[in-house]
């Protein structure tokens, strides 16, 4: 029992999710939310809502504050135990800063995030370049606690701060030809030492289908843990699509382009047999080189604990399953 963080910190207490079966506690939460919805009176509802959202997010006091109100979007606040700020900010895939997980935290210090502009291009009625200050004020900031499942087989639970990408999309008014959205990450070799490496075709490009981009869970994130994003996590603005593998969520975005054809995304270009355009989290469709049936929850699953089962659409099936009705998810991996 050498491995539990809680034990190392002197708090010996079981994790609630280990004791109560998932079905049971999810029912309880649904019950509490039903209460909160008002069926049991105002006073009781207030108490119940607090209980349903009992998990509090304490600021680490490392960067500037960026508060957000708890999101009301369905599925936007998971009850899973938060991954620590230290783990979220030291174990990153951000190849522009190096391929080792520790590289981004080491090398991202040189990234300059002010001034920062995002070009909106392509099939939109209002193409424009928007400054980061304006983007920060474009819609009210929300706190959303999402599971993040990496295609490599590990996962985290991260309290993001941001708003639905749809808020921005509505303002720029896509034309009828806009079927997909492309996201371009900054690729500046002066600030990003590994942009010269051959591992990917830079700049990093990701993309979503228009309906995926408009889904309320698709988040434009500006912060985490109640503070602005650390550089290694994609400052000053990144995408977060919680039901897709992490690489779909482009970091440090400088361009958003509305297009008619399915974008040629970075990992599809690098290895088409291994990474598809959709890349929805799916325990039944393995990566050619490893199983996707299970995952290791960073910081929570002990050293000697078996990996946990991965959930369909990373647990967001109720919210996003209908987007893929009739689509062959084995072919469209």
């Amino acid at each position: 029992m050498l491995y539990s963080k809680d034990r190392a910190q002197g708090f010996i207490h079981p994790i609630a999710s280990e004791i109560t079966p998932r079905e049971v506690y999810e029912q309880r939460r649904d019950f509490l939310k039903t209460l909160a919805a008002g069926s049991a009176g105002v006073a009781l509802a207030g108490w119940a809502a607090r209980d349903a959202h009992a998990q509090s997010v304490a600021r680490p006091n490392k960067l500037a504050a960026l508060p957000g109100a708890r999101s009301a979007v369905a599925g936007a606040v998971t009850m899973d135990k938060l991954t620590s700020y230290a783990d979220i900010t030291s174990y990153n895939n951000f190849y522009e800063f190096g391929t080792d997980k520790a590289d981004p935290a080491r090398n991202a210090g040189k990234l300059v995030t002010r001034p920062w502009t995002v070009a909106i291009e392509g099939e939109v009625k209002k193409p424009q370049t928007i400054g980061i200050e304006e983007l920060l004020k474009l819609a009210p900031m929300e706190e959303r606690i999402y599971r993040l499942r990496c295609v490599e087989g590990w996962s985290m639970v991260i309290p993001w701060v941001g708003y639905s990408l749809s808020e921005l999309i509505k303002r720029v008014e896509p034309t009828g030809n806009a079927k997909y959205v492309e996201f371009h990450t900054l690729a500046d070799p002066k600030q990003m030492p590994y942009v010269r490496s051959s591992v990917l075709d830079w700049p990093y490009v990701e993309g979503l289908r228009m309906d995926e981009a408009m889904h309320p869970l698709t988040l434009l994130a500006f912060g985490l843990y109640g503070e602005v994003l650390p550089n290694q996590n994609g400052a000053p603005m990144r995408l977060m699509v919680p039901w897709k593998y992490g690489f779909k969520s482009a970091k440090s975005i400088v361009k958003i382009r509305f297009v008619e054809q399915q974008p040629k995304t970075a990992w599809v270009k690098a290895a088409q047999q291994e990474y598809g355009f959709y890349s929805n989290v799916n325990p039944k469709v393995d990566h050619p080189r490893w199983s996707q049936a299970t995952e290791r929850r960073i910081g929570e699953d002990g050293l000697f604990q078996k990996k946990r089962p991965t959930q369909m659409f990373n647990g967001y099936e109720a919210q996003v399953g209908q987007l893929y009705a009739g689509l062959d998810l084995v072919k469209n991996y």
Partner: protein, 213 residues
């Protein structure tokens, strides 16, 4: 005694060789070889191995296996280049430490990554052939570790023993292939190239000595 000789300005007999022959050398090398293990064990207990300690343990143990393999294979060329023939007495210990770290590497994979689930391991090997390559290298290490004591050398006869232990060259090749294949996902070959270059020099030195004009 040594100090007295030094004080009298007597010529030091043997130099590095006589130092290497001191009784304290073997225990010191043994203790030093255990340091990576101790450091990783401490890291696992104190939780200082980063966000994914299982991955850190598995990878570090693999790194140390490769490092000890390089050290073991460096003994003979070093003896030839420097004349420090007393290094030979450390070779067996370093070879056994290669086996020690390889065993821990395999154990960590089977336990921490796979939870000793045989069906999962079989599926994983089918998906990731580089695991099979690493496992083959480990299987080849077994007879070498098993015949590393003096009685085994006598029982086999020096020639047959030496022939058997040439399997270490195949092991080195498999170990590099295992590492290369594992790193191929990210096209990150810098470290692989360092180990490959070191092993190539160490094996090349042997070929040169044998076939030089």
């Amino acid at each position: 005694m040594a100090a007295a000789e030094f004080a009298r300005g007597a010529p030091r007999r043997g130099g590095v060789n006589s130092t290497l022959l001191r009784p304290a050398v073997k225990p010191l090398v043994f203790a030093a070889s255990l340091l990576p293990f101790a450091w990783l064990l401490y890291g696992a207990i104190a939780n200082t191995l980063g966000a994914n300690p299982a991955e850190a343990l598995i990878r570090s143990l693999g790194d140390w296996t490769l490092r000890f393999l390089c050290l073991t294979l460096a003994i003979t060329p070093l003896r030839h280049w420097t004349g420090w023939h007393a290094l030979a007495r450390l070779r067996r210990m370093l070879g056994l430490f290669t086996f020690f770290y390889a065993s821990l590497h395999l154990l960590a994979y089977g336990w921490l990554d796979m939870g000793f689930d045989v069906a999962d391991i079989a599926k994983d090997i089918a998906k990731r052939p580089f695991i099979l390559v690493g496992f083959s290298a480990f299987v080849l290490l077994l007879p070498l570790a098993a015949t590393s004591f003096n009685a085994a050398i006598r029982a086999l006869g020096a020639q047959r023993w030496q022939a058997l232990h040439r399997a270490v060259y195949a092991i080195a090749g498999l170990a590099i292939l295992h590492f290369f294949w594992m790193r191929s996902a990210k096209h990150n070959y810098a470290e692989v190239a360092v180990y490959a270059a070191i092993l190539a020099v160490l094996l090349g030195a042997r070929l040169w000595r044998r076939f030089r004009p």
